[in-house]
Subunit: 222 residues, 2 copies
Amino acid sequence: MSRQWPGWLIVLEGADGCGRSTQTATLKAWLERRGYAVVETGLRRSALAGDLISRAKHGNRLGRTTMSLLYATDLADELENRVLPALQAGSVVLADRYIYALMARALARGAEQDWVDELLGFAPQPDLTLYLQTTPEDRLQRSLAKDPHLDYWESGMDLGLSPDRFTSCLQYQNLLQAQYEALADRYGFVKVDGAAARNETHEQVREAVRRLLEGGEELAGA
Amino acid sequence: MSRQWPGWLIVLEGADGCGRSTQTATLKAWLERRGYAVVETGLRRSALAGDLISRAKHGNRLGRTTMSLLYATDLADELENRVLPALQAGSVVLADRYIYALMARALARGAEQDWVDELLGFAPQPDLTLYLQTTPEDRLQRSLAKDPHLDYWESGMDLGLSPDRFTSCLQYQNLLQAQYEALADRYGFVKVDGAAARNETHEQVREAVRRLLEGGEELAGA
C-alpha cells in the first residue's frame, strides 16, 4: 500500500496504567528536538464528543453499544478535523490510543468482531503501532499508587464480574490483556517492554520510531 | 422469528415534508383512544446525543462518517434507555423515522451498504414500517409553504450538487427517494400514499396498524 500523505501516524497502545501517557510525552519532546512538527491525539479529545463522553461516563449509564458508537463518533470527528489535516500537512501524529483500545474494550464486552471491524473501518491504518506490554498486576499497582480510587470503567464494573472493585479490576484487566495480545498479532504491533525502567522503555520506543522515519523513503514505495 | 417482547415497534418513514409528523401524531391519538400505551421516539431525541446533533448540524461542520456515527449513537441510546424498556412493558412505540432514514442519508452520500448494515445492526427489526410515498416536488412545496428558508442538510448542500439551494434540494431529494424505494423493497415497508388527502392517508395508516395489532396472536407464533 502506498502512503496516502506526507505525514506519519504513530499509535501508542496498551491498557490503562501501562505508562502510555509518559511515553507519548517523552516521544513528542524527542521528535520536536529533531525538528518534526508533532500533533497529539487520543480518545475523548474531539471538539464534538469529547466532553460528552466524559459526562456520560460519569453517570455510569452508557449501554455497551452506545459506548462503542460514541467513542467511534469521537474518533471520527478527531480524524476528520485534526488528524487527517495534520497528516496531509506532513506532521507526525502521535495517538495516545486509537481504534485498538476501542476494539479491545468492545470485544471484552462481547461485541462481535465483524461489527467492531466494520464500525471502525473508516480509520486509516497507522504507520506504526507501539504496544506497551505490562502485566495486569503491574498496572493495577501503578494505578493505585496514582489514585487509590479505582475508576468504575477501568475496573470493568459494568461487566458484573465481581462486586468488589479490586477483584473486578484484576479480572477485567486480564480480559483486556487477552484482547490486546490477539490484536497485536493481527495488526502487527511492535511490542515494547512497558515493565522496564522508563528510560529503557523509551529507548525501545525511539528505536522503532527512528526506523520508521529514517526508512521513510523505502516505505513510500512499499 | 418469534416476538421478543409484548409491545410493538411501529416505524413511520419517508423524506422530510412527506407529512410524517402529522401522521405520527394522529396515529398516536387514535391508538390512545383504543387503550394502548404509546411511547413516541425518533431521531435526535436521546438524552445523550440529541442536543449535540442539533448543535453540530448548526455549525455545518460534521463530516459524513461522523454524522452517521453520531446519529447511530443517538439511536442506540434512545433504544437502550427508552424504546426497549417500553417494548418490554407492552407499549406501542411509534418511531418518527428509524434506521432507514439514517441508511438513506448515508447511502445517498456514498457510504458502503455493508458498513451501514453493520453499523445499524444493533437495532431491532420493527413489527411494521409504514412508508409515506410522495414526490420530491410535493415535499419541496410543503417545506417551502412551512418555511421559505430551505434547511442546509435537508437540501443536501454538503453534497455539492449545486450552489443553488433550491436546485440542490430537488436533486438531493431525488437521490434520497431512490434510496428509500430500494429500502422499501428490501425491508418490506408497507407503502402509504402520502400525497393523498390527510384523512385518506391516515385511513391507510390505521388499516395497516389494525392488521398488525389485531393479528398479534398469529404474528406471535410466526
